[in-house]
């Protein structure tokens, strides 16, 4: 762990953002497991984790609503830093350099790289789709307000959005393991200067060029 040698650390995620992120992660895991239980018979056994089929059916939508609410707060915090810029398209075009750890060839990255930004907007789209379609197929309270055609479409949209979201989050989780120091950043809040220099140099420069040693916007 290089950060034990180098005391130069930079705060990347404040306690508030970390709390927000991990609440979201917890909600996602619970929503995904309970949702996958109903997604395909091969995974119905997951309903046992929630107290059986009926409890899975009862809990899943509430977990989903909680996840969406938690995400709204996180999204409001990180929205500005996730705007796609010209350099991001260049970064995406060089995806081969990205996956092969040839980071020195890439354009300098701000607080978030283009992959993180894309993930952010995929989550925005999927969660919006999941919430809207989820309300329509929430049989206990809302399905009675919708026609059968809308309900059928919503069931399909819900499954498609869930599939895309699960795949995206799998990539997100792996990326955090792959880019060492990321998990530490989200658990403890800090990164080393070297980490910021290597992975988010434009963000690093922005911080050190600030008149006083304070972090950028969170």
């Amino acid at each position: 762990m290089s950060d034990t040698e180098h005391r130069d650390t930079i705060v990347r995620y404040t306690p508030r953002v970390r709390t927000n992120h991990w609440l979201l992660a917890l909600a996602f895991v619970l929503a995904a497991l309970s949702g996958l239980a109903l997604f395909h018979p091969a995974l119905f056994w997951l309903s046992g984790l929630f107290g059986g089929g009926p409890w899975t059916r009862i809990l899943h939508p509430f977990i989903g609503v909680f996840m969406a609410l938690v995400f709204v707060f996180l999204a409001a915090t990180v929205w500005d830093d996730n705007r796609l810029q010209a350099a991001d398209w260049q970064w995406l075009r060089q995806w081969r350099d990205v996956v092969n750890n040839r980071e020195e060839r890439l354009p300098e990255v701000g607080r978030y790289n283009a992959g993180q930004k894309l993930l952010f907007f995929v989550i925005v789209l999927c969660l919006t789709g999941l919430v809207l379609s989820g309300i329509v197929i929430w049989r206990a309270y809302f399905s009675l307000y919708f026609s059968i055609g809308v309900i059928r479409l919503a069931a399909l949209v819900h499954a498609v959005c869930a599939f895309v979201l699960v795949c995206s989050i799998l990539v997100h989780i792996y990326a955090a393991i792959w880019v060492q120091g990321s998990v530490h950043a989200m658990v403890r809040g800090t990164v080393t200067s070297g980490w910021a220099w290597k992975h988010h140099r434009a963000w690093f420069r922005q911080i050190i060029h600030a008149a006083h040693p304070r972090t950028g916007p969170d």
Partner: protein
Amino acid sequence: MALQSLDIARRSATTTPEPQVRQSYTGTVAKLIDTSKCIGCKACQVACMEWNDLRDDIGTNVGSYDNPPDLTDRSWTVMRFTEYENPKGDLEWLIRKDGCMHCADPGCLKACPSPGAIVQYANGIVDFHEENCIGCGYCVTGCPFDVPRISKRDKKAYKCTLCSDRVAVGLEPACIKACPTGALVFGTKEDMQQHAAERVADLKSRGFEQAGLYDPSGVGGTHVMYVLHHADRPQLYAGLAADPHISTFVRLWKGKTKPLALVVMGLTALAGFFHFVRVGPNEVDERDEAAARQALESAQPRRPPPGAGAAERRP
């Protein structure tokens, strides 16, 4: 209604073959509803209530003979009355006994995510096993005939069982037993088709040239069939579906896409693992730390010596 005396041919949310050694060699069963003989007495509704121990709430008059006005969790069959003025200007009172059609290809069973909550017996009856029902309502989404109803009391799905408990012991369904005009008949599907053919010939001889049997192929045929005077226009009978089939949305939702999606999710996780094995982690090394230190120092020439903690950024 779980009954082990009937062999199960198909079971919801089950991906392995059902026991198939015992087959229905004498053919499947069917209920034939002859709308041309029905007088709308609702004896079948009463028989259904009695046999199945169902008592629906007392409702209100909605301006027609339909009572209750719709299928409910406790009204598994309902007479639907339509006043149709034919091209000659005569009134025809079309009465249809509505309820589960017991499709050969049931949309409810296809949509159900709970193993064994919906079964199809070897004799063709589609039955809900409420003890396995989780109350999600996917059966409602899948049904092409708008039949299943979720109970407000227990959040479980209910519908006509075709008296699977009676049929299992060699009795005809309760509604059949109660019908005073012979509009309801029960037997093997083959016998019912033959009987229907005679009825259709009779109706045609009486001027109903479009008379016919309603056994829609879109759902693989049904184990509840209608003889209709106007088989060319089933919609006349309180909106009976002209071409019922499992919706394309439901097929996409519950078809091959789901196992495919599972495989893709698994491959995504695997791709990560093998990326780690082949390419390895993206790590920060001493050169990066040195470069960062240099950048820091050049930006802050009057920076206090390291160890004073001044470089540590605080939120």
